[in-house]
């Protein structure tokens, strides 16, 4: 037993309708860097939330041993007390406070509720030296870059006497130099005896620093590889991550592909605030009539940013490039123009960008094309027509609801997704962009949505599907583009695509 700082045994965590974790085991040795890898949705974050007490003891099955002692955390405070600290992908720093204040946030150096500023700053300085950050502890966090902010997070963790440091995608938002520095720091901390868990999509980093690698897939532990004996190759990790058969989860499809309908050329986009940061770098792609293309990529590869910038410049700044529809140059500077040109975009985040949750189903369906149900120069809405048309779509997509007057907020995820899809079908588009069309919905509803997508392509639409689930891309698309860090790194025909191949392009390893 000895030698393990952390043992998680047979962890099972279920959400309504989904088993997120199914008897997962994870053992971390004292003083090692343990990498946790898996596709999006494999259960990595859930596992870490179980460990840190975000999901309290009792809401999952299985046992957690930390330094040999059984742990039953009820919240994050308790897990931090024993020395387990998580640094999340989205940094939890307060931008207007100084570095020192952030380091001791919630853990202030004080006596009888009065701040001890001297101690705060001197200790902050000492911690900053440990993580190799030379900035003054009085600097406001918003004035330093993301790389340095990441170091501040680590300093914050060190201030809590951390024994097991968990980093969730620490380098996702960093450039290469910052990433290298961070990994060096991790190795240094290891020298000092720190144990850590590294969650990362960047497999080159994993194979560089990790001592052990645990692979999760579909909420199960697949294997744990020992990297101390011999170097584990990226290909080996990829095999473990995707080694799954494509069963019959997709409806049959008989593509009838026509001429090129929509084409994007030289498309470049910069970050909306940090205008020197290039998010999309000179992307080209096209879709034919009746074709479904998939855009694969990891989180942060720029897929959503690409499609939203195409959809009426809804994302980014300094957008350049051309859009062609049926060979003609088109302008889509606003969403209204994009809709006018027959482009529809179904967002990945239906609650924030897709639906008005406090309004009913029919009004949500008709919102993007009220013209179709109004008369007198598009001023007055014909409610009867609205009901009739939304009824028809609701039946076509099999939205399960007692009535169309039901508020969208009261529907299940799958039904909400069908409402959003109906809303965009209602605009009678020629080009349909679907961003993560089946995120967070159950298998049955997924199949129905796939069937709809196939039918729409059959009707001659050009369909673009973005998905983080590789099987979904492979199962749906006639052609697959792969993105990595804002660039198109690969284009594969359905016949030549397999998961290993796509994953190689996704992780930036290149395909040869």
């Amino acid at each position: 037993m000895s030698g393990y700082i952390l043992e998680m045994n047979q962890i099972t965590k279920a959400f309504p309708g989904v088993k997120a974790l199914d008897q997962v085991d994870l053992q971390v040795k004292q003083g090692e860097i343990h990498a946790l890898v898996g596709e999006n949705g494999a259960g990595k974050s859930t596992l870490m939330k179980v460990l840190s007490g975000v999901y309290p003891y009792g809401s999952y099955d299985g046992e957690i041993l930390f330094e040999g002692e059984t742990c039953q955390f009820k919240d994050i405070k308790q897990s931090e007390r024993v020395g387990i600290v998580i640094i999340h992908q989205e940094l939890a720093l307060s931008p207007y406070l100084s570095i020192a204040e952030n380091i001791f946030l919630g853990n202030e150096r004080e006596s009888q509720h009065i701040m001890k500023w001297q101690e705060t700053f001197s200790e902050a300085k000492r911690l900053l030296e440990r993580v190799g950050l030379k900035d003054s502890p009085e600097t406001a966090v918003m004035d330093i870059g993301v790389g340095k902010q990441q170091l501040v997070e680590i300093a914050k963790a060190l201030s809590k006497n951390v024994k097991l440091l968990i980093l969730d995608e620490p380098t996702a938002a960093l450039n290469e130099t910052d990433s290298e520095n961070l990994l060096k720091l991790l190795l240094e901390l290891k020298q000092q005896g720190m144990s850590s868990i590294l969650i990362s999509h960047k497999l080159n980093e994993v194979s560089l620093v990790a001592d052990s690698i645990t692979i999760l897939r579909d909420g199960k532990t697949i294997e744990t590889l020992d990297a101390t004996v011999e170097q584990v190759s990226e290909a080996r990790i990829i095999k473990g991550m995707v080694g799954r058969e494509l069963t019959n989860r997709f409806p049959e499809r008989y593509p009838q592909i026509g001429e090129t309908l929509f084409e994007v050329k030289n498309w470049s986009v910069y970050h909306p605030q940090q205008q020197e940061r290039k998010i999309i770098d000179n992307v080209h792609f096209y879709v034919k009539k009746g074709e479904i293309i998939g855009i694969a990529g990891l989180m942060g590869a720029g897929r959503t940013e690409l499609t939203m910038s195409i959809f009426g410049k809804s994302y980014g700044s300094k957008i350049s490039g051309e859009l062609y529809k049926n060979g003609e140059l088109i302008e889509a500077n606003t969403v209204a123009q994009a809709i006018e040109h027959g482009i529809a975009y179904v967002s990945e985040d239906r609650k924030t960008y897709g639906l008005n949750l406090i309004d009913d189903i029919k009004r949500n369906i008709t919102l993007a094309n009220l013209k179709r149900i109004s008369r007198l120069n598009n001023i007055v809405i014909e409610e009867g027509k609205e009901v009739q048309e939304s009824q028809q779509l609701s039946e076509q997509l099999n939205i399960k609801t007692p009535s169309l007057e039901q508020l969208a907020g009261n529907l299940s995820g799958g039904n909400q997704q069908k409402v959003v899809l109906s809303k965009w079908i209602f605009t009678e588009p020629d080009i349909l962009i679907l961003d993560e069309p089946t995120r967070g919905i159950d298998v049955g509803a997924k199949f129905e949505i796939y069937t709809q997508i196939n039918q729409l392509a059959q009707q001659g639409l050009a369909v673009i599907v973005i998905s983080s689930e590789l099987p979904e891309v492979l199962g749906l698309a006639d052609r697959i583009y792969v993105m990595n860090e804002g660039r198109m790194t690969g284009e594969l025909r359905r016949e030549e695509a397999n998961q290993e191949e796509v994953m190689r392009y996704m992780t930036g390893a290149g395909g040869e």
């Binding site: 606003t334 406090i358 919102l367 007055v380 009867g384």
Partner: protein, 385 residues
């Protein structure tokens, strides 16, 4: 019976408000020995509250978009001052003054809507500034003094009545109009019912529809009869009724109405549906400026003077009316009718409490509690469902 329970459950908020209004009216009927139901007092109720109802209509649109307007009280004072200066000091004709005043209101709306929509300053701050700006301009225009009196033709806006024919003791035109309105309501109800049936929608059982109509028509005609016993229909009531009809139609049946609800319900989703949400908010503030100007004219006409302190705290009455009427602070929810009922609840209470001689101190106290409980009831209901 089940239908009724079901109907009630689905519309707790709307029916709840109407029931509250009935209960409060009944309470004051008891407390004032029926004085509040005399023809004279009913007429007064309308004359006293007309401008608050106009403000509530403008405000409910603003609040549905998820914004707020704290400046309407000051706009009321400013427009009163403008009218006073134009008519009394400069002898500008009344009709031209009305047009200029409404244009001034529109311009104020353009000013505030610009800062809110296109510069992106929260409406709370822009209209708080407006509250100070327009109060300040009022003081400057009037030099701290009141301006009075207005000519009769201007006072007609708030104190006038529809003319009568015949000249008996009862106001014939009022009764005729009330009968006409009744017929119109019956026609609209059955036309809607027919359309619903045509599209195979669920309709209420015919007896529920008939019962609803009967109660509504009885209330309207009784009310009109009372007014007819006094001086007939006040001009104020005509203005308010026309505005209710217009804005209810706009919010319920037009594309722009949908855009307003969608903007308040989820701005990001509305943007991604091709709705120009900035323009929507801008025009809602322009509209509110015009309605506030109209209320300002009504207020000055009723007081028969333009005073620097006019309309103080009136914005809070309008906001309270809207929230009592079921709107949500977060936007996306609310109706014109709800705001009117909310305004009437406040109006009936003001009127009743004055009649039984409750001091202004306790009046404020009680109105505060009513606002708190009405919205508390709403929040509780939402949590339960």
């Amino acid at each position: 019976m089940q239908t009724i329970v079901h109907l009630f459950k689905n519309n707790v908020r709307e029916y709840g408000m109407i029931i509250a209004l009935v209960l409060i009216t009944g309470l004051f009927w008891v407390l004032t020995d029926g004085v509040n139901f005399t023809p004279l007092n009913l007429t007064n109720l309308i004359l006293q509250n007309g401008f608050i109802l106009v403000l509530a209509i403008g405000m409910v649109l603003v609040i549905i978009t998820g914004n707020i307007d704290l400046s309407v009280g000051s706009i009321v004072a400013f427009i009163g001052a403008v009218a006073g200066v134009l008519i009394i000091n400069m002898n500008v004709p009344v009709w031209l003054t009305i047009i200029l005043a409404l244009l001034a209101g529109a311009f104020i709306g353009v000013w505030q809507g610009f800062w809110i929509s296109y510069i992106g300053i929260p409406s709370f701050i822009v209209t708080l500034a407006g509250m100070l700006i327009f109060r300040g301009l009022t003081l400057w225009l009037l030099g701290g003094q009141s301006l009075a009196p207005f000519p009769d033709s201007f006072q007609q806006i708030s104190n006038g009545f529809l003319p009568d024919i015949g000249g008996g003791s009862i106001h014939i035109v009022t009764l005729l109009l009330s009968a006409l309105l009744s017929l119109l309501l019956v026609y609209l109800e059955f036309r809607a019912r027919k359309a619903q049936l045509q599209y195979h929608l669920e309709v209420l059982p015919i007896w529920v529809t008939l019962a609803k109509l009967t109660v509504l028509l009885l209330v309207i005609n009784w009310f009109a009869y009372q007014l007819a016993l006094n001086k007939g229909i006040p001009i104020v009531l005509v203005i308010v009724l026309l505005l209710i009809a217009l804005y209810t139609f706009v919010m319920k049946n037009t594309v722009i109405g949908r855009h307003i609800y969608a903007t308040g319900g989820n701005k990001k989703a509305a943007d991604l549906s091709g709705i120009k949400t900035k323009q929507v908010v801008f025009w809602v503030f322009v509209n509110n400026g015009v309605l506030a100007a109209l209320a300002g004219l009504m207020f000055a006409a009723r007081l028969n003077s333009a005073t620097p302190a006019a309309g103080n705290m009136l914005e809070l009455d309008a906001i309270a009316a809207v929230f009592i009427g079921g709107a949500s602070m977060a936007g996306g929810v609310g109706t014109v009718i709800g705001a009117i009922v909310g305004g009437l609840v406040m109006g009936v209470m003001n009127n009743g409490m004055s009649l039984i001689g409750i001091g202004i101190d306790w009046q404020q106290f009680i109105k505060g509690l009513v606002l708190l409980f009405a919205v508390g009831f709403d929040v509780y209901n939402k949590k339960k469902s």
